[in-house]
């Protein structure tokens, strides 16, 4: 039998050697390479390369229309002594911290409310998301008009009620301007937080609440010991995104105040745009935006390790 089998094989035409072309066509790794090629081309050319280039530019004295020369850390040293830069760092941290905290609180509250049974639930949920859909700049313009110094509807209403006698100079006063941009940011961010948390809430088994009710748990205890622990993983991710996008916000500020009054609302992103593109100091602008990277890494790290800890608390593996 073995002989016959052997003869058969030699009688057949020999199996063709895999050519280089076949390798390119069917080998798993090569195929993977071809499939990844378009995405990688975009990401390397327009994301990874500029990211490196940006850091390089921050060490040069490049201006618009003139490639710079290496000047070491001069840009950073200059920024170190620049009070406007430090003001923008302070503004960015304040803006991110306050807006993210309030977005989280209101977003979670709204998600809990929307999770209740009520009429017109579907329409309500769809409407809540609208601020997130409309382009930020366009809604920022609406806020610009609402916060107008002369014709603000808020000032008018408050005057009618009798709470104030003079118009509030919403975007012209340092404190008010900060409150207004933070408010607009919260307004835009709450729907995202609320709808994603709502999706998380719907996976919580109602039987848990029923059991807790039988055990005599109060509303707050149910939230604290059932809802919140089950939601933490999704909260960590949502808040990472929220913090990241708030920290690097540009368009809202640019449409509403352009950094004014007296730089009170300048964030690092708007300051780097102003220095790099409007004033033409590419090197300095790049240094400002590179200075954002450590903050972003810190934000990612904090939420990432927060996430790991929660996983471990729930008795899962730290994979």
């Amino acid at each position: 039998m073995a002989d016959i089998a052997l003869q058969r094989r030699t009688a057949r035409p020999p199996i063709r050697e895999a050519t280089a072309w076949d390798q390119l066509r069917t080998n798993r790794n090569w195929l993977g390479f071809w499939f990844m090629l378009p995405a990688m081309a975009f990401l390397i050319l327009f994301l990874a390369y500029p990211l490196g280039l940006g850091i390089w530019i921050s060490f040069t004295d490049a201006k618009i229309g003139r490639p710079g020369e290496y000047i070491g850390t001069e840009n950073y040293e200059w920024l170190w002594g620049d009070t406007i830069f430090w003001l923008s760092v302070f503004n960015t941290l304040l803006y991110t911290a306050v807006a993210s905290a309030i977005k989280f609180a209101i977003g979670l509250y709204l998600a809990l409310l929307l999770n209740e049974n009520m009429p017109f639930k579907a329409i309500l949920r769809a409407m809540v998301l609208i601020p997130f859909i409309v382009p930020t700049v366009l809604s920022a313009l609406a806020f610009w008009w609402i916060f107008d110094s002369q014709f603000s509807i808020i000032s008018w209403s408050l005057k009618q009620v009798g709470l104030i006698t003079e118009n509030i100079n919403f975007l012209g006063d340092v404190t008010w301007a900060r409150i207004c941009v933070i408010f607009a940011n919260i307004w835009r961010g709450v729907p995202f937080v609320a709808i994603t948390l709502l999706a998380g809430l719907q996976t919580v088994q109602p039987s848990l609440y029923e059991a807790a009710t039988l055990d005599g748990a109060s509303k707050w205890e149910m939230f604290r010991f059932i809802t919140y622990p089950l939601l933490t993983p999704i909260i960590a991710v949502v808040m990472t995104f929220s913090v990241l996008f708030t920290f690097t916000d540009f368009q809202l500020i640019w449409a509403m105040t352009r950094g004014g009054p007296v730089n009170a609302t300048h964030l690092m992103a708007t300051l780097s745009y102003q220095r790099a593109i409007i004033a033409g100091q590419l090197g300095e602008g790049a240094a400002i935006s590179s200075a954002m990277i450590p903050f972003l890494l810190a934000a990612i790290m904090v939420s990432w390790f927060g996430l790991q800890r929660r996983k471990w608390q729930q008795g899962e593996n730290n994979d």
Binding site: P38, A39, F42, L43, L53, I130, Q205, Y209, F250, M292
Partner: protein, 311 residues
Amino acid sequence: MTDLPTSRIDLKSVLAGTSPTVAKDDHSEGMSYLQSVPRRMVTLYMPLAIIVFVLLFPFYWMGLTAIKPDEQLLDLDKFNPFWTWNPTLKHFHKLLFDSHYPLWLWNTMYVAVCATILSIFASVLAAYAIVRLRYRGAQWVGGLIFLSYLVPPSILFIPLATVVFQYGLFDSPLALILTYPTILIPFSTWLLMGYFKTIPFELEECALIDGASRWQLLVKIVLPRAIPGLISAVIFCFTLCWNEFIYALTFLQSTSNKTVPVAIVNEFVDGDIYRWGSLMAGALAGSLPLVILYAFFVEHYVSAMTGAVKE
């Protein structure tokens, strides 16, 4: 990354309001019957009404301003500012016939459509390769793509401006069409990976045995089954393009090339105190296409939003 310990998120139910959970399947109302109506009034409807009012008021105000005659806009005491009895289309008329608005709208649409098509093409291939081909280092590449989603445009715009200038793309829509995919690809790849993972591998194995090529597998088996995911990715990409501001602001210069968000901020904001009507009309007209799209695909929006977060 963050598998919830409980059941999977059922995205459609999030908006339809039908909870997938066990207790709701028997048409009971959970434990809400324990609450009296007056109590629900205070703890549920009132706060909800306030939040929804705040969330929607700017749009009401935007729409109202866009149709108010000029003299009513600025005289808050003589006319009731919250309503108008003689709406006018003057501002929209000015927008359509005395400005480049239709052109800006077209530019935005053109850039958004092209960038979306490019990104979806690249993302489908990349997501398929990462999930199904599992070449050496696929996991690693998947992680890198997720990381690149976290790189914000406000860090990249300065070096990208020099790159765009070097390639001679400055002040051309092509600059935006080529740079927007860097925002869109990481997101849509991540989203599509999630969808592709849910398609049974056995289907593809059968087709492979029947002699189908990888390309045929993708086009004839995987894609038809991932259509909800594709729609989500397309809509979200389109919205992101429409919303993008800083690249468009930096890379475009001539008035006729601008996209709607940039053009409104730069071209309409002059010293004229009567500008508000046309400004708000422009903002409204720029938002409407997205809101209409949203109205048709609410579920897909939500699944895209939560899909990017849940993996």
